[in-house]
């Protein structure tokens, strides 16, 4: 009789322990919801997260999925978030603002300061690059140069390696 009781108690304790280990959907839901931005609605069923609601752009939608997928005990993510309609570009004939050569050369000089292998000249709004740059740094340099109101950026003489 005593052995039966012990066995029952043991089984009960094991069951309770296992039950405590299983992640609850409500816990997952509150954990994910607290990490998501406004507009995202999180529901969880059996470890599967479903995202809905609306966000401003495609990046935010993708980000929401990454956040949910990164949460412990989430089996998979269904992403039904709506994205607000895209902005239509204003394709215009308004003339482009081109900086004059002297201030443009000064700002180009600042931009290439951090790229010792790169040299630049400016003529009639065109930035002409030469020298060399590592491929993985090229985008950062181009991002800086594209903000200076040049007419054109010519890197045909620049070695990218």
């Amino acid at each position: 009789m005593k052995m039966q009781k012990t066995f029952l108690a043991g089984t009960l304790m094991l069951l309770l322990a296992v039950q405590g280990c299983k992640p609850k959907d409500s816990d997952i839901q509150s954990a994910v919801q607290s990490k998501e931005i406004t507009g995202v609605i999180v529901s969880v069923n059996d470890g599967v997260v479903t995202l809905s609601g609306e966000v401003a752009d495609a990046s935010a939608k993708a980000n929401a999925e990454t956040i949910a997928g990164g949460q412990k005990h989430v089996k998979s993510v269904v992403n039904n978030i709506g994205v607000a309609a895209p902005v239509a570009p204003d394709v215009t004939d308004a003339p482009v603002t081109i900086a004059s050569d002297e201030p443009l050369m000064a700002s180009v000089r600042d931009a290439i300061k951090d790229y010792p292998g790169v040299t630049a000249t400016v003529s009639s709004g065109v930035i002409m690059l030469s020298g060399s740059i590592k491929k993985e740094r090229n985008m950062k340099l181009m991002m800086a140069l594209n903000g200076l109101h040049a007419k054109r950026i010519d890197n045909s003489k620049l070695t990218i390696n």
Partner: protein, 138 residues
């Protein structure tokens, strides 16, 4: 092929990423794309798309001037150089004398934004001057 056709997916991406004040113009063989992206992530994804369409940016037929919004009211920024210190200068130009430095990863206070390239900042050590905004993340 008109440049708006060549770069159609880039222009579409700008719309999808909800770039505000998006302006697209073609002038003298160059496509000008201007606007303000809602986040740094959105801006980066547009640049990745641009590189996809024109590897190494060698065609030289685009000038894409996309700013990042959302940081206009920020009063602090993080130094995001690759690893080196960021120079703080007396004036907004790399020819200006260095008055201090902010370490990689350090926070600075933004006093004012002189222009897109140079911001007036104060480091944690109290050094005040101009820093190159490309290396600051608000």
């Amino acid at each position: 092929m008109a440049l708006t056709d060549k770069y159609k997916t880039l222009i579409d991406a700008a719309g999808t990423e909800r770039v505000s004040n998006l302006q697209v113009r073609e002038q003298d063989g160059v496509l000008y794309i201007d606007g303000t992206a809602p986040s740094g992530v959105a801006k980066d994804s547009l640049w990745a798309k641009y590189e996809q369409l024109d590897p190494n940016f060698s065609s030289g037929d685009v000038v894409m001037n996309i700013n990042t919004a959302g940081d206009e009211n920020a009063t602090k920024a993080k130094v995001v150089t690759e690893s080196s210190n960021l120079n703080i200068r007396k004036g907004p130009g790399t020819d200006q004398p260095i008055v201090g430095k902010a370490a990689h990863g350090e926070e600075v206070s933004i006093i004012s934004r002189t222009n897109d390239q140079w911001w007036l900042v104060r480091s944690v050590d109290g050094e005040e001057g101009y820093a190159y905004a490309q290396y600051l993340q608000a």
